[in-house]
């Protein structure tokens, strides 16, 4: 359980950093295109972390895994 919780905390830290960076980036960057690209990258990064580590997308087809 400690290993799983460690992963959870690392992902939480990644989400916190990306959200902070996303906010600061949006407030300070005046170029519309650059801001849009930066926000999109941050959003996909956060979504990817949640989908992979929290939603366990890699387990979809794993038959032996049980709940």
């Amino acid at each position: 359980m400690q290993e799983a919780m460690r992963i959870g905390l690392v992902v939480a830290a990644i989400l916190a950093v990306l959200t902070f960076v996303e906010y600061v980036f949006a407030v300070n960057v005046s170029n519309d295109v650059l801001r849009f690209i930066g926000l999109a990258l941050a959003a996909f990064g956060k979504a990817g972390a949640i989908i992979y580590y929290f939603m366990h997308v890699n387990r979809i087809w794993r038959v032996e895994e049980s709940h």
Binding site: M1, A4, M5, A16, T19, L39, M55
Partner: protein, 187 residues
Amino acid sequence: MAIVSAVDGHASPYNHPHLNRVGLWLFFASETVLFGLLLSVRFFLEGIEREHVDQLLGLWITVILLASSVTAFTAETAIKHDNRTVANWGLFATIVLGLIFAGGVGYEWATAEFTRREAFGTVFFTMTGVHAAHVVSGIGILGLVLAQSLRGRYTGKDHWPLAGAVMYWHFVDVVWVFFYPALYLVK
């Protein structure tokens, strides 16, 4: 084949949690179409323009929803290790954070400086409304799961309802990860 396996007393490959998981992901795929359309409508109607919204409130409710994903993950991890106490507290914390998020959205609605008759108001109220409906339904599902968990319904080897509810909650969180910058930050 499935019936024969069940009769023989063997676990059928068609009656397995992995099938539930595939079904849930198919549901997420259909929901992604809905939320993707809402997102595309937002940019189709308004481009990257937006009206004034409360930036700090948007940031805080985003942090709260992301934190609720961490508590939901904690609950799932705990029940996998038969730690019901931590699982119950994780579910409870997730519900509380979800309620705070829903309250924040409600406050934003009450104090919005635009109306639903404007293009941005239309997309803002529709997107946050549909998402909030999912948040509220997620809170209800988590509440039911918590009630079952308090009765000792789940174990480390049998907790699909809890895992499914938590996955749904994560999905709602992922949707907001895209809605937040689209509504609050793009301009």
